[in-house]
């Protein structure tokens, strides 16, 4: 369920004018911007953008980029986008902006949606950047990471519920051979080639993969993610683990991303914003419940203690919290 609180009645024109007022003068009235935009759903935000363009002949996003800064600016400018456009923009930024693509963003883009949704994101990406997502992921990665990420981003996964038990059993064995062949179970040994892992993870349907992971645990006595645990510097293994967690339990995976982003030395705001902004209209409520269960404190408390100022206010607004005004 969504955590966003948006009124049913609203006037895009009035909102556009209120936002313009917030930009006027020397400073920027961030609080008002957060109050308005933090309480509008995707459709409403779209209408506000159109109204602002009509009235002031300016792109609202450009204006926000100019008037805001830092973490708040990035979060608000992502928030205001239409959800599909946002996914494409996040994917692009994760590939192009950093010296090395953030594989987590690419995996989240690819694995947390249906085949049709991923296709829509890829079409939007092509429209915006005049290149395919596959091209950009491929040309900015290398080796096994490239093979894996490109495969995961390209596949048009079968979405039926059927499971072939024999195949699940045999592929659980294949995965075991590949993972443990290199250096022992959970011993952090390098993977003994990764062709079959990549094939299985990037082509099989989700129900089929869940059955395979179950067989893996039964056969090898440990979960597949534990088997892949090892050297934290081994990014490829980390990507495989992330993908498997994403497939097994997306909400738990996301709460872990949030938890890690807060608990690392210095908060990783990009990851924190990304999860809250992309899930606020989807299932952030359930994620909050998982977070509370796993960490013993509410996500709002965690965000409140680890972030500051207007950025904090914005995140808390999206989390459905009304108290910080």
């Amino acid at each position: 369920m969504a955590t966003l609180l948006a009124p049913e009645d609203f006037s895009p024109g009035e909102d556009a004018m209120a936002l313009n007022k917030a930009f006027e003068g020397w400073g920027t009235d961030e609080k008002n911007i957060i109050w308005i935009l933090g309480h509008r759903n995707a459709d409403q935000r779209k209408q506000i953008r159109l109204a602002y363009q009509e009235i002031y002949l300016e792109d609202l996003i450009k204006k926000l980029k100019y008037e805001l800064s830092g973490d708040l600016e990035r979060a608000v400018c992502h928030w205001i986008l239409d959800p599909v456009e946002r996914e494409a923009v996040l994917a692009y930024e994760s590939i192009i902006r950093n010296y090395r693509p953030d594989y987590r963003v690419i995996l989240e883009t690819a694995l947390m949606k249906s085949a049709e949704e991923l296709l829509t994101v890829k079409r939007t990406y092509q429209f915006l950047y005049k290149r395919s997502l596959e091209e950009d992921v491929a040309s900015h990665t290398s080796g096994d990471m490239r093979k894996f990420l490109v495969a995961v981003v390209s596949v048009y996964r079968y979405e039926g519920e059927e499971i072939e038990e024999e195949v699940a059993h045999s592929e659980a064995n294949i995965l075991g051979d590949e993972i443990q062949g290199g250096g022992g179970c959970g011993g952090g040994g390098a993977l003994n080639g990764a062709e079959e892992i990549i094939r299985i993870l990037s082509t099989r349907s989700r129900p089929q993969l869940l059955a395979t992971f179950n067989y893996y645990k039964r056969i090898h006595g440990t979960s597949i993610t534990k088997s892949l645990d090892g050297d934290p510097a081994d990014e490829f293994s980390a990507a495989l683990r992330a993908a498997i967690q994403c497939i097994k339990n997306p909400k738990r995976y996301l709460q872990k991303v949030v938890h890690n982003s807060i608990n690392r030395l210095g908060t990783e705001e990009d990851a924190l914003s990304r999860v809250i902004v992309t899930r606020a209209e989807k299932d952030l409520k359930e994620m909050k419940d998982v977070y509370l269960k796993k960490n013993g404190r509410s996500l709002e408390d965690a965000v409140a203690s680890e972030t500051t100022g207007d950025y904090k206010a914005f995140l808390l607004t999206l989390l459905g919290n009304q108290d910080y005004f």
Binding site: L119, K122, Q126, K130, R131, S132, E134, E135, A138, S139, S142, G143, R146, K147, V150, A151, S154, V155, Y156, R157, Y158, E159, G160, E162, E195, R199, S202, T203, R204, S205
Partner: protein, 341 residues
């Protein structure tokens, strides 16, 4: 006077009468025409078979059978038994038109999904067919085929291909069937130059099995847009004075990939030439129908021009010479339709 008329008529028709007064098919031309009506691999001459078989009587047919020991043999039985493999062969020839009609009428997604399935279920597998399907269709057309495949077979094309192929071929083919290429015309000139050099270096310096392991060659061919690749093809020719696909000639699947992506008319006209030559293999035979039916609304004009240029004969004339009956008429009409578009 009536008697003379009767004789004249009989003489003109060249009919002799046997003892029972029945007409017999003694004309060697008619015997030959019947044989010709089902010789050659591409179709049957339905009209001529119909006329002859209606005209002739049981004795004529016995004569025909006795005169065709390659088809009918009475070694083991007391009658001229039809050789069963020839019967199967003939059945397939009758089916050429039937199959062409089905392919033409079927939804292109279903048609391509069936062809994808067939490409890897045949022994030996037809990698070039899979490459043709993945590379000569637009991104959305092939996506449709992938959806149809899931609907028909309850699994994705990616799964299907990945499980049946190994090694380098797997990496290439799975990537080709998965990718959703950008279909626009925007390209990055700097990237073109850079990637043209990468290809050049890989091809000119590496040995064959090293090219296969070259991640960059694979990346460029399996993710870049078609316009991008056509531009690289031009750039490669200018830089190295040779054609990219010719330099990849040792690795057939890479050569086919480049041809299908950069110049489908060249790829298709070659298939047509092979299939209409003397004694094509079974797989080639199906290609004639497939190429004409699937390209009539796409680039038949370009294929016909290329065919004429490369092989010195108009495509329609070659088809007329190599095919029979309704099958021939159907293919010729489709080519004409394509050329008029």
């Amino acid at each position: 006077m009536a008697e003379r008329k009767k004789t004249t008529i009989l003489v003109r028709r060249g009919k002799k009468l046997n003892k029972e007064g029945e007409k017999i098919m003694t004309s060697p031309e008619e015997c030959e025409a019947l044989r010709k009506a089902f010789s050659g691999p591409h179709g049957v001459e339905e009209k001529s078979m119909l006329e002859i078989l209606v005209k002739c009587n049981p004795a004529d047919l016995t004569t025909f059978r006795k005169k065709s020991p390659d088809i009918f043999s009475d070694d083991e039985c007391c009658f001229e038994k039809w050789d069963s493999s020839h019967m199967k062969f003939l059945e397939n020839k009758f089916l050429r038109f039937h199959r062409a009609v089905i392919q033409r009428m079927m939804h292109p997604w279903e048609r391509d999904a069936l062809l994808v399935r067939k490409s890897l279920e045949e022994k030996p597998p037809l990698y070039n067919l899979l490459i043709e399907l993945a590379c000569t269709r637009t991104s959305d057309e092939f996506l449709g085929a992938r959806k149809a495949f899931q609907c028909l077979y309850s699994e994705s094309v990616e799964e299907f291909v990945a499980v049946r192929v190994e090694g380098f071929q797997r990496r290439l083919l799975v990537a080709l069937v998965s990718t959703y290429r950008y279909e626009g015309m925007r390209i990055d000139e700097a990237a073109i130059k850079l990637e043209c050099q990468k290809l050049g270096r890989a091809i000119k310096t590496d040995k064959k099995n090293e090219i296969e392991k070259d991640d960059e060659v694979l990346r460029i061919l399996t993710t870049r847009s078609k316009h991008f690749l056509k531009t690289i093809h031009k750039c490669y020719k200018e830089s190295y004075d040779s054609n990219l696909e010719e330099d990849l000639d040792d690795i057939q699947i890479l050569r086919d990939t480049v041809n299908c992506l950069c110049a489908p008319p060249i790829y298709f006209s070659k298939i047509l030439d092979t299939v209409m030559s003397v004694d094509p293999t079974k797989q080639d035979i199906e290609a004639l129908t497939r190429v004409i039916v699937t390209r009539t609304d796409v680039d038949m004009k370009d294929i016909a021009e290329e065919f004429n240029r490369k092989y010195g004969a108009p495509l329609i004339e070659r088809i007329k010479a190599a095919t029979l009956g309704n099958y021939r008429d159907f293919l010729v009409a489709l080519v004409k339709r394509g050329m008029a578009n």
